[in-house]
């Protein structure tokens, strides 16, 4: 059972037994999103795996020095996940398609209806009108609800202080760039223009246009156009998305519909949540001793959760 399905089942079961809420009671309203929101179209067919975007992110967000140089390609020998020390990573996938491996960039997708935001007990998250999903570390209590609610398994945690764990993830360079009308640092550095920055509505049109003009080159799907209610970062690929690490089982329903039900449970959740997640964390740290799963410390997670 996937962790999120477990959470969903747990929430629905708890909600209906405790409060008698039915599944669709909260799910009616749909949010079309800010019309001027920005996004990024990621074209996997263009990426050459140079990792310049990782280096640019590290510098822009003043993250700790990496454990290996950013031009070290041996990191591709295993699949990585974004962590509190690296908000974006590139993974390499060997595919049967001619033209060599496919590289895939991972970072927060800046969902239109973010699961992290709706699951947060203290409203630490904000979806800005520019499209970024940002958070206020000062109010984060480290309960890790967002980590479980995120369909893409994005938020990382800084455990540098045991008493003050903080959520850490890509913020679309909001403070330093996006809010001043500038593209994120990774977009600016990318030599291949794998990353196209613009108004999300325009990017969706551009994506469909690329597919129409080059039907042999692309899979006829924009990942993120509809998934979980649509995301701000959307993807084009020349190989099926599930072959390059995307979770294609998420459906188009926003995570919010599930999580809203659970908001009624906050008082109970507040009491047991931290204990529950300390348990999760211990379990996942234990798994890391398994040599087949050697990842970047505690943060190794694939999109499709175990």
């Amino acid at each position: 059972m996937k962790r999120r399905d477990f959470l969903k089942a747990w929430m629905i079961c708890g909600a209906s037994t405790t409060f008698g809420i039915t599944r669709n009671a909260w799910g009616g309203a749909s949010f079309e999103g800010y019309p001027e929101r920005m996004g990024v179209l990621v074209d996997l067919t263009r990426c050459v795996g140079c990792r310049s975007c990782e280096a640019a992110c590290n510098k822009e967000q003043q993250l700790p020095a990496p454990s290996a140089p950013f031009d070290d390609l041996s990191v591709f020998d295993r699949k990585r996940r974004p962590t509190e020390k690296a908000y974006t990573v590139i993974n390499r996938y060997e595919t049967t398609k001619a033209g060599g491996p496919v590289y895939r960039k991972i970072q927060c997708n800046h969902c239109n209806e973010p699961g992290c935001l709706s699951s947060c007990l203290v409203n630490a998250y904000t979806k800005t009108q520019e499209g970024a999903v940002i958070y206020n570390p000062k109010v984060c209590i480290g309960c890790r609800a967002c980590m479980v609610a995120c369909p893409f398994n994005i938020p990382g945690y800084s455990y540098s202080s045991a008493f003050n764990p903080l959520v850490k993830k890509c913020v679309f360079c909001y403070d330093t760039r996006l809010k001043n009308g500038k593209s994120p640092a990774c977009v600016e550095i990318c030599p291949q223009e794998t990353l196209t920055f613009g108004h999300l509505n325009d990017l969706i049109k551009i994506g469909h246009e690329r597919i129409r003009e080059m039907p042999d080159k692309y899979i006829d799907h924009i990942y993120g156009e509809k998934e979980v209610g649509g995301t701000g970062w959307i993807y084009l690929s020349g190989v099926p998305f599930d072959k390059v690490g995307f979770d294609t089982t998420l459906g188009n329903e926003p995570i919010i519909s599930n999580v809203k039900e659970f908001l009624g449970l906050i008082p109970m959740v507040l009491a047991i949540w931290p204990a529950l997640f300390t348990g999760f964390h211990l379990l996942s740290t234990r798994n890391n001793n398994d040599p087949s799963k050697q990842g970047d410390s505690h943060s190794y997670r694939e999109d499709a959760k175990p």
């Binding site: 950013f70 031009d71 041996s74 990191v75 291949q192 223009e193 613009g198």
Partner: protein
């Protein structure tokens, strides 16, 4: 006799016509072009234009329809089957060095008649265009094969003398 003279005149005319445009183009055609948009981290590239003309022969491979040679790209032909040469053919004439600046995005949006809405910026155009042929025809493909990194680049990539000094540090392959 008449026929021969006519042929001669026609022949000279044809030769003159074929040489003239090539000549005037050659006058403006640089043998080498300095590409220096990445000088923050890399040495500039002295692009050997003459050599690439020899290698590819067909200008449209890089210049699309702008040099007046017919393009074979099915998507371009739809409009540019018979397009004449444009006044400027340099990459920088169309491909913006700042493709994602607020001004560029606004400009693209305000021009509702513009068809080329998805035109790559200058850096993207270079790398996509060069990289495609280089990978296929065995040209250089590593970053530093074309532009060696400067010290500032080493610092940015945490490579070279700026490489992290940890025992598990993988060997840098210096792309």
């Amino acid at each position: 006799m008449h026929v021969v003279r006519n042929w001669l005149i026609r022949g000279v005319l044809v030769i003159a016509l074929t040489i003239a445009p090539a000549d005037s183009r050659a006058q403006n055609m640089p043998d080498s072009i300095d590409l220096d948009s990445l000088v923050q981290f890399y040495e500039k590239v002295s692009f050997d234009h003459a050599k690439h003309i020899g290698l590819s022969k067909d200008c449209s491979v890089c210049h699309h329809h702008t040099t007046g040679t017919p393009t074979e790209d099915a998507n371009c032909i739809r409009c540019h089957k018979n397009s004449a040469a444009t006044a400027v053919v340099a990459c920088t004439a169309c491909h913006s060095a700042q493709p994602f600046s607020a001004e560029t995005i606004k400009k693209n949006k305000s021009n509702v008649k513009s068809y080329h809405k998805d035109m790559p910026g200058l850096k993207g155009a270079y790398h996509q265009s060069c990289g495609g042929c280089h990978a296929r025809d065995g040209g250089p493909t590593g970053c530093q094969d074309c532009h060696p990194r400067k010290k500032s680049g080493d610092a940015f990539y945490h490579a070279g003398e700026y490489a992290p000094k940890t025992p598990k540090n993988g060997k840098s392959r210096g792309r």
